[in-house]
């Protein structure tokens, strides 16, 4: 239930879609957090199925779409569903890509830059601290600027890179959303997450769905929860 601008009580059934690619493996985790923890009306969308026009937010979850063949995310970027994601992105619908989802958004040109192999050349699964650099996006508007988020990463190709020209643009348009507190994997300017120029498409390597519940977060689950609460705030859902 929600109250609109002239005070009428209206029913809004918000729809959040979690896209499932062959090889996605954080889809169920993301679904659980969106639907069971934050009570959002969430649905899975198989990558060959189209997305409805009236969807309110889309999440591309982590995993190994197409087994990371060729390059992480590059094959999934050619899935039929990506055309719909692009249309929705243009309409300003909030879109979040996490880990492999971020790699897919980059490979689809929805976000700038590339994600290279980590400097260690190894897969890295460990807890890190993020620093919020932009709290104007649909996924960060409940967070404070420079707020710290304890959160795990789990990737092999998570080193964000852009050349200096693009970096200039990123900064100009306030597109750096999250940076690592420490030097983690060799990402340029320790970037962990970015958004498009409009700010509605956000990609991040760390996994907020792994940090939003107290039981599985050994440090502090509140900051990560705020990523989801930001989305709820953006969508105007009142619980």
């Amino acid at each position: 239930m929600c109250i609109n601008f002239i005070g009428e009580i209206i029913n809004i059934i918000v729809k959040v879609g979690v896209i499932v690619f062959p090889g996605s493996n954080c889809d169920r985790d993301m679904f659980h957090v969106l639907s069971d923890v934050f009570d959002l009306n969430t649905q899975y969308y198989w990558h060959e199925k189209g997305l409805p026009n009236n969807i309110d937010a889309v999440v591309l979850p982590g995993g190994f779409s197409y087994g990371d063949r060729l390059r992480a995310g590059v094959i999934a970027a050619h899935s039929p569903v990506i055309n719909d994601v692009k249309k929705l992105a243009n309409k300003g619908i909030p879109i979040l890509g996490v880990c492999n989802g971020f790699q897919i958004l980059v490979e689809s040109n929805l976000l700038p830059g590339v994600l290279l192999k980590n400097e260690s050349l190894n897969f890295m699964c460990q807890w890190t601290n993020l620093i919020v650099k932009n709290n104007k996006t649909p996924f960060t508007n409940k967070l404070q600027l420079n707020q710290k988020i304890p959160i795990p990463i789990a990737n092999g190709e998570g080193r964000y890179y852009v050349d200096s020209q693009l970096m200039h643009d990123l900064k100009k348009h306030n597109q750096i959303v999250f940076a690592y507190e420490d030097y983690v994997n060799g990402s340029v300017e320790q970037i962990a997450g970015i958004c498009n120029e409009d700010g509605n498409v956000v990609g991040m390597m760390p996994h907020p769905e792994r940090a939003a519940e107290k039981l599985i977060n050994p440090l502090d689950n509140k900051p990560s929860s705020l990523i989801f609460e930001s989305l709820i705030h953006t969508l105007g859902v009142k619980n």
Binding site: P22, G23, S24, N25, C26, R28, D29, H32, V33, W46, G62, G63, F64, Y66, G67, D68, R69, N122, F123, M124, C125, Q126, P152, A154, G156, H207, E209, R210, E213, L215, I216, P218
Partner: protein
């Protein structure tokens, strides 16, 4: 082909005809040690396999435990040693794939992997280092891609694995009890092969694994593809939800030959199949190759005619190839055809049940020659020794390993890897604790006591998380069983495990035997590996780091048991002495005492005392808690006049270190005294140094930051720089 003379004779005697080449290939694959357990099967029956929580069904390849609320946990353990010794990346990866499909075949979703890795001396042997690094990458590559967290395991280095590799993988599944596949089939049902295509990889793999590793038979090694495995997992779980699966079996060792004969035998049915219908990777594969290829990521499904279209539709969704290769008959025969030509027609039961062997056993001579005492110069700097142990490959932090594994995916991992047992949350509100343990150094000196010790250690780790052990899996790895001395060590270990399992009433719900683990310089040390699962209701027990003024308490007796310890083997390069032995009664009462203290919320943290002994266990608590402690070992429960060397480094079992808040120490004191538990308040936490006193003299004194540096960099430095 690996058929023995007496086996060929047995075939002639029973079937009374000359067999076709295909028939011989099928039988040779299935009768390999790897598939048939012909040396061990008679004896494995001694293990207790039933219990309140155990669900057993026909044809299950993994153990099933009822964990309440309509849910089950499944578990299985396997190894992939021979292939990993030749091609560590692919070998280790395939090891993960195989055990995952065993979990899947019961209709449960795999939710966790644990792995046990053993190699030669990586400090000095660059080949061992290469094997180790690549095996870790292989497991990471496969498990991470599947989205199944690798939540724990162990890594150990020992000279007896020189030129060889032990790669053990345990997997855990979870699902609804009413969704378990109840294997059944009736006449006219279809036999469907889904997944990867059959190729020329892994030809005769099970026979390769049933012989000493002499040549590098690369064609016997399977090529892994985790992406296909991931698709198979999703396909099968969806097919399960749509009730498309009557019976299911994974294709592992022995390929189609074993899967078909074993499923037919367990269900009492016949299967007729046409090799022309098997989807292959290349043209021109011979029928025999198709029958014994161990190409990975394949599952055999029996479905009914009406359900086939739905099954096909699901396979199409995931682009998983699905071939109807045959059908079910009543005649209990395994009938292999190529178009109209019969290539093999054998009673399934005959194929699936190899004639079992009675291996001879004799006590090994080496045991008589082992030195009982190590003459050590008395004036040793124990601080230096402890720091050296902390940075030794067997004790140093394994974060370099487990940080390459995604251990968080699935968002169940409550207690992460790196300490004692790992803990997963389950959908029924309970918490599952899991740990695997082995100790070849102990087992070499005393295969029976060593094996019991591994079992107890795994239990201890589970107890440290406040969970009750509910089931175990064992993986028994030895050299050539034809050698009576090696077979003796196998029997000793098995009998020891049986004895302890019966005493604690922990059912053995699965396991595997791996023989012929021989390196170029001889057999490996006996390496039984034990996995234990435990359940904790309601809330998990989360360790809290010690603070100033917290007390350190030890439970359990320290004994004169330095044999096989890291202190003897790593510091003194001495193999010998008396290995620790579990006192069953103490083992149980100590476990119950720890569980009750945790249940009553009287402890902040519990740590098991094992490799390296008391000195290492207490250092680890300080390293993780980032706080020093001052303790006095004079108070420690032990026999009279036990030397400080033994107190510090003996690896006696049934011991736990507990961190207790000041306000609870009286209560804990009272409870433990009342229960007549051997225990002592050793000292208190404070400062930034570990100080161990004996007779009011400082025996050990070093800074925590130094210990942390040694502990966290020990293994990583070794691997980063070469």
């Amino acid at each position: 082909m690996s058929l023995q003379k007496h086996e060929t004779k047995h075939i002639q005697d029973v079937l009374k005809r000359k067999l076709t080449k295909t028939e011989l290939q099928i039988i040779a694959a299935e009768w390999s040690e790897h598939c048939s357990y012909k040396s061990s099967k008679k004896h494995l029956k001694m293990l207790p396999t039933t219990g309140l929580n155990v669900i057993s069904e026909k044809g299950y390849d993994s153990g099933v435990l009822d964990v309440g609320g309509g849910y089950v946990v499944t578990v299985h353990i396997e190894s992939h040693n021979h292939p990993s010794a030749v091609e560590p990346f692919g070998g280790a990866a395939t090891g993960v794939g195989g055990v995952i499909r065993d979990i899947l075949s019961t209709g449960t979703r795999p939710i966790a992997i644990l792995d046990g890795l053993r190699f030669g001396d990586i400090e000095n042997d660059t080949h061992a280092r290469w094997l180790f690094k690549n095996a870790v990458s292989g497991i990471a590559d496969y498990g991470n891609c599947l989205g199944i967290p690798t939540i724990g395991g162990e890594v150990e280095f020992d000279d007896s694995y020189k030129g060889y590799a032990l790669v053990d993988v345990a997997a855990i599944g979870f699902g609804k009890k009413n969704r378990l596949i109840k294997n059944h089939a009736c006449k006219g049902d279809l036999v469907v092969l889904i997944g990867g295509s059959t190729g020329r990889d892994g030809i005769g793999g099970s026979q390769f694994a049933s012989d000493s590793l002499e040549g590098e038979d690369r064609s016997a090694i399977q090529i892994p593809d985790p992406f296909i495995e991931k698709l198979i997992i999703e396909t099968i779980l969806e097919a399960r939800n749509e009730n498309c699966i009557n019976a299911m079996k994974d294709l592992g060792g022995g390929g189609l030959s074993c899967a078909v004969s074993e499923i037919a035998e367990s269900l009492g049915i016949g299967i007729e199949l046409d090799v022309n219908n098997v989807h292959t990777r290349e043209s021109g594969l011979l029928p025999d190759e198709i029958m014994i290829s161990e190409s990975q990521e394949r599952m055999l499904i029996i479905t009914s005619k009406q359900k086939l279209p739905k099954l096909r539709q699901i396979c199409n969704k995931f682009r998983v190839t699905c071939s109807t290769i045959g059908h079910v008959k009543n005649d209990k025969m395994m009938h292999v055809k190529k178009a109209k030509k019969t290539l093999a027609l054998l009673p399934a039961e005959f194929v699936a049940r190899a004639p079992l062997l009675d291996r001879k056993k004799t006590k090994p001579k080496y045991l008589l020659q082992i030195k009982k005492e190590n003459k050590v110069k008395k004036t040793l700097d124990y601080s230096k020794i402890i720091l050296k142990l902390l940075s030794s490959p067997n004790i140093a932090s394994k974060h370099w390993v487990f940080q390459q594994y995604d251990h968080e995916v699935g968002i169940r991992t409550v207690v992460k890897p790196g300490f004692d047992a790992s803990v997963l949350r389950l959908d029924n509100g309970k918490f599952l604790s899991a740990k695997i343990d082995g100790n070849p150094k102990h087992c070499y000196l005393d295969p029976r006591q060593g094996a019991i010790g591994c079992f107890e250690e795994a239990c201890r780790n589970v107890i440290c998380t406040g969970a009750n052990p509910i089931g175990m899996v064992d993986h028994l790895q030895f050299g050539n069983p034809e050698d009576p001395e090696i077979f003796w060590t196998f029997m000793e270990s098995l009998e020891g495990l049986t004895e302890y399992a019966k005493f604690l009433r922990i059912p053995c719900v699965g396991g595997k035997v791996s023989f012929y683990n021989e390196t170029p310089s001889g057999p490996i040390k006996p390496t039984p590996l034990i996995g234990v699962l435990g359940i904790k209701d309601k809330t998990p027990f989360l360790s809290v780091s010690p603070n100033n003024d917290d007390y350190l308490v030890v439970i359990g007796d320290t004994k004169d048991e330095l044999g096989g310890s890291e202190y003897f083997e790593y510091i003194h390069r001495f193999i010998g002495g008396v290995c620790p032995r579990v006192n069953f009664t103490d083992s149980k009462i100590n476990m119950l005492a720890v569980l009750s203290l945790i249940k009553n919320k009287l402890v902040k943290s519990v740590h098991d005392c094992s490799k390296g002994g008391l000195s290492i266990a207490l250092s680890e608590l300080s390293i993780f808690g980032n706080i020093g402690c001052t303790i006095d070992i004079e108070k420690i429960p032990c026999e009279e006049n036990l030397s400080s060397e033994k107190i510090l480094f003996s690896e006696s079992h049934s011991r736990y270190l507990l961190v207790i808040n000041k306000k609870n120490i009286e209560k804990v004191n009272h409870i433990l005294s009342k229960k007549k538990i051997a225990f002592a308040v050793l000292g208190k936490y404070s400062g930034d140094q570990i100080i161990i006193k004996h007779k009011s003299k400082n025996l050990v004194k070093f800074r925590i930051d130094l210990a942390q540096k040694r502990y966290f960099n020990g293994l990583e430095d070794l691997l980063k720089h070469g």
